[in-house]
């Protein structure tokens, strides 16, 4: 089922004008704070009435201002995971989880409560009240509550933003399992590049109320012209396969013929992984570097150079493993004589790993 969104809305000092399509899997609305992501998601949920627009999931129309159709929020069958959880404090965890299910149509395809409780690790919390839960636990309950309302579509508005790194690490695996095990489209708002890299099947980049790019995650994140989170957060995605684990604590991976070495991974050989290479972790060299401690060196051709504000520039390099972004100073870009078509070596200092099996869009 494809979600199609087209919206126009005028605020004081801010115009929203966005059209995009979200295929099955996780579609991340990616952009800086204040770019209009939450406004879009609230319009999909029906919490905001746009001036003009059409929102449809498959043949199921939620909003069509031309024909004057606008479903009330409670008729939209949407599971909304809010940034602050928004659990009902006067109800137990069990009652919170059951709240949406109680209002869902009797014939709606339902998730099994026991399965979701297991998936999210909520078994020990069922009889507690939200006041007695940690931030991470609350967010897991909020995710479960949204899932159990028999939704046709899931919306998530920065569900991890209010949590510290440890809690994020606790919840991300649950969101990944959700993406892989629950077969409904998920529209996910985020301004954190690392979350996008781990979760996104496709990315819709938003800037100042407009869609500046949309497509598969690796394509959008690897385009130096977009950088929706800014140059500081830029990073490209490549896909690699685990080859073998070496005795010295390193794992060998292979990305389209290029060998990469990472600190020991838990994945069995043969597993496909998605790697995120942050632009600030890449150094460029015109010659094949020698006498260097870095293990991962990807030869390639400069595809594009984008100078940003300040002294920095983002260089896009096409390597055999895929597009890699590097953040360098404009001075060194000049000194190295970088220009489109010039051959360089991208020296990668560190890599973050996410499972590559990313929803339905991974195959497309």
């Amino acid at each position: 089922m494809m979600l199609e969104v087209s919206l126009k809305h005028r605020f004081a000092g801010f115009d929203l004008d966005a059209q995009f399509r979200a295929p099955p899997g996780v579609t991340v609305l990616f952009g800086r704070s204040g770019s209009g992501k939450t406004t879009i998601i609230n319009a999909v949920a029906g919490l905001l009435s746009p001036d003009q627009g059409r929102i449809a999931a498959g043949d199921w129309v939620l909003l069509d201002t031309k024909s004057g159709l606008q479903l009330r929020p409670h008729r939209r069958r949407i599971g909304y995971i809010f940034q602050e959880g928004r659990l009902f404090p006067h109800l137990s965890v069990r009652q919170n989880l059951g709240y949406g299910a109680w209002f869902a149509p009797k014939d709606a395809p339902r998730e099994d409560m026991g399965r979701i409780v297991d998936l999210l690790g909520l078994g020990a919390l069922l009889d507690r009240r939200p006041g007695a839960l940690s931030g991470g636990e609350k967010q897991r309950v909020a995710i479960g509550r949204a899932l159990l309302s028999a939704p046709k579509l899931i919306l998530a508005d920065e569900p991890l933003a209010a949590l510290d790194e440890a809690r994020k690490a606790e919840i991300l695996p649950y969101l990944e399992r959700l993406r892989d095990e629950v077969n409904i489209p998920i529209l996910y708002v985020s301004h954190a590049a690392s979350e996008v890299a781990r979760l996104a099947s496709s990315v819709v980049a938003i800037e100042a109320g407009r869609v500046v790019a949309q497509g598969p995650a690796a394509e959008v994140l690897g385009d130096p012209a977009i950088l929706p989170a800014g140059a500081r957060e830029a990073g490209a995605l490549i896909t690699a396969r685990v080859v073998r684990h070496h005795d010295d604590g390193l794992s060998e991976l292979e990305a389209n013929g290029i060998a990469l070495f990472l600190p020991r991974l838990a994945n069995v050989p043969g597993t496909q992984l998605r790697l995120r290479i942050a632009a600030h972790d890449v150094i460029l060299s015109r010659n094949r570097p020698e006498g260097l401690s870095a293990l991962n060196i990807l030869p390639g051709l400069v595809q594009d150079i984008r100078a940003g504000a300040g002294p920095g520039a983002i260089v896009a390099i096409d390597t055999a493993a895929g597009r890699v972004l590097a953040r360098v100073t404009r001075r060194s870009a000049l000194a190295l004589g970088l220009a489109p078509g010039v051959g360089v070596h991208a020296i990668v200092k560190s890599v973050s790993v996410a499972p590559a099996d990313v929803g339905g869009a991974a195959a497309s």
Binding site: H74, R75, R86, P89, H90, G100, G131, A132, A146
Partner: protein, 231 residues
């Protein structure tokens, strides 16, 4: 127990309880509705409604009683209309209940309105996205979360109804067994020689009932708040 109070005094106490109970029970749904409207809706004339609700708090009770008499008396516009349906307020205990309800209404609405305003509209939005129609959102989220304020408002209104004097005596007079509530009875006893003893006993009853109501509301509100606050 009954020996301690004379039959006339006992009658006043029983009548007061009956009048206050009905006054509170009947005004509660209206109180919740008005409090919700004032807390959550914006509509033309909202300040006027707010003013009207609070008027009995500010007006001399005699004025409120006289206005009630004018409109709900048997020859008043509302009173004569209701009389055709067999509903009479003037000089009946039901009139005392009406006067008490109107005098207690501002206290009730204030407490409930504050607690409804304290309910985060974001929780109501969350309930809507989970499929709850507006009426269900109100019943399952707003109302239970505002419960401490509703309890406080109800008990305050009951205590106020127990003590209502001016509007009651102006509207429905001071008829033993029909409209002579505790305050009216105390007043009547003080008008006759040797009535001080009976008056004092009723004063004690009034103090005890008022204190009990306040304590009860405090305990109950705290318990409900702990439940809603959720541990």
């Amino acid at each position: 127990m009954t020996d301690w109070l004379g039959p006339a005094e006992w009658q006043a106490v029983a009548l007061s309880l009956r009048v206050s109970l009905w006054a509170t029970l009947f005004s509660l749904p209206f109180g919740i509705f008005v409090a919700y409207a004032l807390a959550r809706w914006s509509f033309p004339g909202k300040q006027i409604v707010n003013g009207l609700v609070h008027l009995p708090l500010i007006l001399p009770p005699v004025v409120t009683g006289y206005l009630l008499l004018l409109s709900f008396g048997t020859r008043g516009p509302i009173g004569s209309f209701l009389a055709d349906w067999g509903i009479v307020f003037a000089f009946r205990w039901s009139g005392a209940a009406l006067a008490a309800a109107i005098m207690a209404f501002p206290l009730m609405v204030r407490a409930i309105r504050l607690s409804i305003e304290a309910v985060d509209p974001k929780l109501e939005q969350a309930a809507a996205t989970l499929g709850a129609a507006p009426a269900w959102v109100f019943l399952t989220v707003t109302l239970p979360m505002a419960l401490p304020g509703i309890v406080t408002g109800t008990i305050l209104a009951f205590a106020k109804a127990m003590g209502e004097f001016g509007a009651t005596i102006t509207f429905v007079s001071n008829i033993p067994g029909e409209t002579r509530t505790i305050p009216s009875a105390i007043y009547a006893f003080l008008q006759v020689p040797g009535g001080e003893g009976a008056a004092l006993r009723l004063v004690i009853v009034a103090v005890v009932v008022a204190m009990a109501a306040l304590l009860l509301s405090e305990i109950f509100a705290r318990r409900v708040a702990a439940r809603v606050g959720g541990q």
